[in-house]
């Protein structure tokens, strides 16, 4: 175990863990947006910024990506941090003012409205969807493209023929700004992304008759786990 100090409190942390892991373990609150415990951290949103001191220098860094090291001194709510966090949340709020998640985080940081304006956009480029699609699903249907102002999540499959997407909805599940949403109506699942909509046919359960999962997703799982496709003729609820 590695001993670090967070806000004057000595915390024992796993050697390969991050400042955020260590803080979470002892219940010290650090706001996060682009972090998900099941995914690798990316340090994109910069909301989890903390102040660390090593060799007499004090700097800001993202708690979700910085690994713990013996003797590390961490502060989570200095004035410098609050100023930096306030900027981050204002930038997020200006881009996506109607997101519940962002509004809630802003409230916690005492921000009602940003001190500047920015063109509103649905996606704040946190990358949770891209990471979920790669790390959890393994489909790699979406990825980041370009840089600077043109940086975007490439969902071109919505319009083009090459579709690696299996309609599993993991991206919609992790999306913090409702930029990606999913809706099942009858035998159709509609995945709505900033660039358009894509539909998937749902599979009907042989026993209860409910439409329970996209056919493409079930084919994918069958192939990945080497089970007979017929396994999925029956929904999870109707199995023994």
């Amino acid at each position: 175990m590695v001993k670090i100090t967070i806000d004057n409190q000595i915390v024992e942390a796993e050697p390969s863990s991050t400042i955020l892991d260590a803080a979470n373990k002892v219940g010290i609150y650090i706001p996060t947006l682009c972090y998900h415990e099941s995914l690798s951290p990316s340090g994109s949103c910069r909301l989890c910024v903390v102040e660390i001191a090593t060799n007499g220098k004090s700097e800001l860094t993202a708690a979700c990506t910085y690994p713990v090291e013996e003797g590390l001194q961490v502060e989570t709510n200095s004035e410098k941090i609050m100023k930096a966090r306030k900027l981050v949340i204002e930038l997020l709020l200006a881009q996506r003012p109607h997101s519940n998640r962002i509004q809630e985080l802003a409230r916690k940081l005492g921000i009602e409205k940003p001190s500047f304006t920015l063109a509103e956009k649905e996606c704040i480029l946190c990358g949770l969807c891209v990471r979920a699609c790669h790390e959890i699903v393994g489909a790699d249907a979406i990825s980041f493209i370009a840089q600077g102002l043109n940086r975007d999540v490439d969902e071109s499959f919505v319009k083009h023929s090459e579709i690696k997407c299996i309609g599993c909805d993991s991206c919609a599940y992790v999306c913090p700004t409702e930029a990606i949403t999913v809706e099942d109506v009858g035998d159709t699942r509609t995945l709505t992304m900033p660039s358009g909509k894509i539909e998937f046919k749902l599979k009907k359960c042989k026993i209860c008759g409910s439409y329970w999962a996209p056919e493409k997703q079930l084919e994918y799982i069958a192939k990945q786990s080497n089970v007979a496709p017929e396994t999925f003729d029956v929904c999870l609820n109707c199995r023994d």
């Binding site: 994109s44 910024v49 920015l118 980041f144 493209i145 840089q147 600077g148 043109n150």
Partner: protein, 645 residues
């Protein structure tokens, strides 16, 4: 820059505003260029601060234009970089349009600090520094614009982007750019970026000396990014996935250019010219293309099919290849002219071994380059007994490792300086030693010993190091009476190569330097004959793959200028490149704390699996490892902006 009115360069502030010129404080040690192509540089803005030499420059317009360029390079991966710069630009545009308010300045500063302290990578954290300087030192200019409420006319500026890694690369490859694409698994686009400056990604991804890695900022923190190994990833991916390389070619213009030599310089020049629409024919005396990459680099470092594949891509760009054709024997410069070639590029390399200059009593001394040629071109070599290689460069190491694979029992390198001065690539030296090559440092050959007409050994003398010589390395001097004998059956000399220019005759009128290289005009690569250009090892003497590629690229631009304008004018791109090259891009104000993470090097074949054959030693990084390694890149891009007019 003696007449500096204001400088915040490297954090040292000199403010001469409002003073008489004779009272100006000089800026000590400001190693920045004064002029751009004969024009005075009026203001200079980059990651390390601002320098102003002319009061008439509107520094806020300079800052705005600079930040616009910064925005193009921002990875867009973090909120503060992506959205923060957007807001900053909006505010600055507002002020420049005469619509700003006083509170905008405070807002701008808060955004700048927020980016400086909290952006994800080094690029934005350092790039905003000069903007913050304008707020700190030119606040009255902002206030003036705000009270005047008048729009400022937009000026134009000269811009170049570089990075510590890019700048030391002779070809100035956009390294952070393709690493960024790799990190996002966009292999085809990464390869497009690489091919803009380097037409041999698979070759250099294996055998480049990687000057970039030695200058990687990450090297000061933990270990440099494995740039060379990363470059190989998309190159191999294209082959294994049978992807078509994307080649953007201009319309054919019908003008014919001849290139002599299908080595890296000739290939690079041909590729560039072909994409520019020229009809290029390469002549090479060998039966396959590749030049020194083929004949000089052993296949355990660079498999033959990698070279042939990349040559094929260059052919696909429209380049015609005439092999087994020796200039001077089958064609001449004159006959090429008569065939309608409007320009000729000579890139015949440096294939002759330099003579050792010691007493040779027998033919037991072989030129190391010739041995490599023979092995690499597939000739059978009878190997038995022991071998001694004289020299400490990459050719010496390649000879040693090749000899081991050929079956020599005992392979020893003799080098006259110590390990620290050895010019061969460090990794190669280490691998050679792991494989069993012995290195005898601080020893120089005196004479080769024979018995009954057979080599029995080499007499050497121990050396010690004195003062540094012209190359900056310590000069070795013999220690009197320290002679000793190393027993061996063969001696290879690998102390450097020189061009073989015997194909040129008096009629060609190509001037040769005292060193025996082709003489060229440095900015245009034109030889003493109009329309005849030259580059690569035959101009520089033995150099590296990437230096040859870089000169090939530049010569192509120059040949293009010559063919379009009828004269050689240094291309603007190269003017700016050379100007920036004189600026040290390392170091930045206020170092950030970066979590240490060591590099992920590629895997190697085990020693036992490799020493008896010529199978490639280094493996390609796996996709997942490559992404992890790519994520270590700090993106130390520098935007350099000059106000000239």
């Amino acid at each position: 820059m003696n007449r500096v009115i204001f400088s915040s360069w490297a954090g040292k502030v000199v403010d001469n505003r409002g003073l008489d010129t004779e009272k100006y404080t000089n800026v000590e040690g400001l190693a920045l260029p004064l002029e751009y192509n004969g024009h005075r540089i009026r203001a200079f803005m980059s990651w390390n601060g601002i320098v102003v030499t002319d009061d008439g420059v509107n520094i806020i317009d300079v800052a705005y234009s600079y930040l616009k360029e910064v925005q193009k390079l921002c990875c867009g991966e973090c909120t503060v970089g992506y959205a923060g710069i957007k807001v900053m630009l909006d505010i600055m545009a507002k002020i420049l349009n005469g619509a700003g308010t006083e509170s905008d300045i405070e807002l701008l500063q808060w955004l700048g600090i927020g980016i400086k302290e909290n952006a994800k990578c080094f690029f934005c954290t350092t790039a905003v520094t000069p903007i913050l300087d304008t707020i700190d030192y030119y606040k009255e200019e902002y206030l003036k614009l705000i009270t005047d409420k008048k729009a400022v006319p937009k000026a134009t500026y000269k811009v170049r982007v570089s990075a510590p890694c890019m700048e030391v690369c002779p070809a100035h490859q956009d390294i952070p750019g393709y690493i960024e694409l790799l990190r996002n698994r966009r292999y085809a686009e990464a390869l497009e970026v690489i091919r803009e400056t380097n037409c041999l990604p698979g070759v250099t991804g294996r055998a480049c000396v990687a000057f970039c890695e030695a200058n990687c900022v990450r090297g000061d923190i933990d270990s440099p990014i494995a740039i060379r190994a990363l470059k190989r990833v998309p190159a191999d991916y294209e082959v294994t996935s049978s992807l078509e390389p994307k080649l953007e070619k201009m319309k054919d213009n019908g003008t014919k250019v001849a290139v002599i030599g299908a080595g890296p310089a000739g290939l690079a020049c041909s590729y560039k010219l072909a994409l520019m629409g020229y009809k290029v024919t390469i002549y090479d005396e060998q039966s396959s293309a590749g030049g020194m990459a083929l004949a000089g680099i052993p296949s355990y470092r660079l498999p033959r099919e990698v070279i042939s594949r990349e040559v094929e891509v260059i052919q696909r760009a429209g380049v015609e290849l005439k092999l087994n054709t020796k200039v001077g024997r089958d064609v001449t410069l004159n006959s090429l002219h008569n065939e309608g070639f409007k320009a000729i590029f000579i890139a015949t390399g440096a294939h002759l071994g330099r003579e050792l200059g010691i007493k040779v009593e027998d033919d037991g001394l072989i030129d190391g380059v010739r041995l490599l040629h023979a092995v690499n071109m597939g000739k059978k070599i009878g190997a038995k007994g022991r071998v001694v290689i004289i020299g400490g460069g990459n050719v010496a190491i390649d000879c040693a490792r090749s000899c081991l694979r050929l079956g020599f029992k005992d392979v020893t390198i003799i080098y006259r300086r110590s390990r620290a001065e050895m010019p061969g690539r460090k990794e190669e030296i280490e691998e050679a030693e792991k494989e069993g090559v012995k290195i005898h440092f601080l020893a120089a050959p005196v004479k080769i010993l024979t018995h009954d007409g057979k080599v029995t050994g080499i007499e050497c003398i121990a050396m010690e190091l004195g003062e540094p010589d012209a190359s900056g390395r310590k000069r070795p001097a013999p220690i009197p009476s320290s002679e000793f004998v190393v027993e061996t059956e063969l001696v290879l000399s690998a102390i450097g190569e020189k061009p073989d220019l015997s194909f040129l005759t008096e009629v060609d009128q190509i001037e040769i330097t005292d060193d025996g290289n082709i003489k060229v005009e440095p900015d245009s690569y034109q030889t003493s004959q109009a329309g005849v250009f030259s580059g690569g090892d035959c101009v520089t003497g033995p150099a590296t793959l990437i230096e040859a590629i870089a000169t090939g690229n530049r010569a192509a631009r120059s040949i293009g200028q010559y063919l379009r304008l009828g004269k050689t004018v240094k291309p603007e791109e190269d003017v700016m490149a050379d100007l920036v090259h004189n600026i040290s891009l390392s170091g930045q104000r206020g170092e950030s704390i970066i979590a240490k993470s060591m590099r992920y090097p590629p895997e190697h074949l085990s020693i036992t699996d490799r020493v008896k054959n010529f199978t490639e030693v280094e493996k390609v990084l796996t996709a997942e490892t490559a992404i992890k390694e790519a994520k270590r890149c700090l993106r130390c891009y520098r935007v350099i902006l000059l106000a000239i007019n």
